[in-house]
């Protein structure tokens, strides 16, 4: 349903356009198409993902999840609810956790994106959070794990020595359908020890 053509506005539109005798719905479409101003964003942009600058062709309305998964093939970032309610798509933007399904790629030009693929060191050493999650057997089915890892890594950047309650708060924007929350918290606490 297009609310721009609600019943109320439709009637208003018919009244306004009565003299021109244009069919109701067509009136809006025609007006819209003929007077759309130029000057919107460019599609070919550079974004910085995991320390590398990537040239990519991005639609104006494209979300970061879509760009990462389907244009850059970084499928570690999961697309689950696609509406900022689950956390599976969590990435870091300038070291802050964000839902990549609810950010436009056009908004992250000039910012540093870190996905789960970008956490391990150049020599392949796992990030302390990844290592700790393995040691604590944190994931169960594993689908929410990339988001949990990134949220935990972002938490430890802001607060390298969290209490268990702070860790709980830090991971509270990530759902786990298996209910492995306590195992993830154990992992975060161990990761904090590994970093120290």
């Amino acid at each position: 349903m297009n609310p721009k053509i609600t019943r109320r506005r439709f009637i208003k539109g018919v009244i306004y356009s009565a003299a021109a005798a244009v069919p109701g719905a067509g009136y809006y479409v025609a007006t819209a198409a003929s007077s759309r101003p130029a000057g919107a964003v460019e599609r070919l942009i550079s974004i910085n993902v995991n320390g590398r600058t990537r040239r990519v062709d991005v639609l104006p309305q494209e979300t970061l999840t879509h760009t990462l998964r389907y244009r850059l093939n970084l499928t570690g970032t999961k697309l689950a609810c696609n509406r900022g309610e689950c956390g599976a798509c969590t990435v870091m933007i300038n070291d802050v956790a964000n839902y990549s399904c609810s950010v436009l790629t056009q908004q992250v030009k000039g910012k540093q994106i870190t996905t789960v693929e970008g956490l391990r060191a150049a020599d392949g050493t796992l990030h302390p959070v990844q290592q700790a999650f393995i040691e604590e057997l944190s994931p169960q089915c594993g689908f929410c794990t990339p988001g949990q890892v990134v949220s935990a890594a972002a938490l430890l950047i802001a607060n390298p020595n969290p209490t268990r309650e702070e860790a709980r708060q830090g991971l509270s924007g990530n759902l786990c359908r298996c209910g492995a929350y306590d195992h993830y918290l154990n992992g975060v606490m161990r990761a904090a020890e590994l970093i120290a």
């Binding site: 349903m1 609600t6 639609l59 900022g84």
Partner: protein, 330 residues
């Protein structure tokens, strides 16, 4: 409901000066949609329940960000994120009512990008409306929530007029309690509205929760020092601690000397389509000291005049009890 990975085609404008954003908004009128953090916007667009031809992304406008001290209080840019507000030392020190409220919004990741301007301008969360049904608010001729079989557990106790949805904002009651004012810019210049007048119910405008007119942009929120360092009480009751919208919230600012509440503002959220000031409670509370019994008897009148729906009567004792807790917290 069908949801889509990708939003439909639209133009995107990314002005970096507030003047450019205003002239764009004026030029495009109802063909454009102002984009703050986007946490309310993207759902509408992905679901195809609302569409727009163009987004005007305000995030590149640096002058709309940050917290500044003014002669009489503080000014918060409308694009300041809820995380910044929850953690800002200036706000935490003097107006912790607002930082508490901002810290209870949605989830951590949403607060990291969601803005104050967006939080106070967001649309209602009635799921019939959100689903794209042709209800009063969407321009149609009936309400699906206020029917014998309607699901209206989250809906309004007060001020319903055809539409029974509530304003879901957590920061709105806090701003009304702090006597904030909203700075609005448009093609015809700047106007300033008291927070109390910024939020409007369906009797005034059934299609919008705010007094913002087409082409206008909320640029800042000013908080006077009137209630700086007052005694505050904030509580949000929701089904879940994260992500969820308030069932009832209570934001209270009180000036206390000794055991006496000299002056106060009691504002209740999620019971009406705008934050509800509890003037009668304020009148009964002010100038007196309180014990458990007097708090209880005053609080019992908080929900007086409520017109409940089939499934939201529980909000009445909830309101009363939050008022009681606020008085007892002194």
């Amino acid at each position: 409901m069908s949801s889509h990975d990708v939003m439909p085609d639209m133009d995107l404008y990314q002005p970096v000066q507030v003047e450019d954003a205003i002239s764009l908004a004026a030029r495009l009128g109802d063909r454009a949609w102002l984009l703050g953090g986007g946490q309310d916007t993207y759902g509408w667009l992905k679901d195809r329940a609302k569409t727009t031809e163009a987004l005007i992304d305000l995030n590149g406008i640096e002058s709309l960000r940050g917290v500044r001290e003014t002669e009489d209080g503080i000014e918060i840019g409308a694009l300041t994120t809820l995380t910044e507000i929850a953690t800002n030392p200036l706000i935490n020190e003097n107006y912790s009512l607002l930082s508490q409220a901002a810290g209870r919004v949605a989830s951590l990741q949403i607060r990291n990008i969601g803005t104050l301007g967006g939080n106070v301008s967001q649309d209602v969360r009635c799921w019939y409306y959100r689903r794209g049904l042709d209800c009063y608010r969407a321009g149609g001729n009936l309400c699906y929530a206020d029917t014998p079989e309607g699901m209206n557990r989250e809906h309004a106790l007060f001020g319903a007029s055809r539409c029974v949805a509530v304003n879901p904002s957590d920061t709105a009651p806090a701003l009304v309690a702090l006597e904030a004012s909203m700075v609005i810019n448009g093609d015809e210049g700047e106007r300033i509205l008291a927070a109390e007048d910024y939020f409007v119910g369906p009797a005034i405008d059934i299609e919008s929760t705010t007094a913002l007119r087409e082409g206008e942009i909320l640029t800042a929120v000013r908080i006077p020092s009137t209630w700086a360092n007052a005694t505050f009480y904030f509580e949000k009751v929701a089904d879940r601690n994260v992500w969820d919208f308030a069932l009832v919230s209570m934001a209270v600012a009180m000036k206390v000397s000794g055991n006496t509440i000299e002056d106060s503002r009691f504002v209740c959220g999620a019971v009406e389509c705008k934050p509800r000031r509890l003037l009668e409670i304020e009148a009964a509370v002010n100038g007196r000291s309180h014990d458990g019994a007097s708090a209880e008897s005053i609080a019992a009148t908080a929900s007086a005049g409520a017109r409940s729906l089939a499934h939201n009567q529980y909000k009445m004792p909830l309101m009363n009890n939050l008022v009681k807790r606020a008085i007892e917290s002194v």
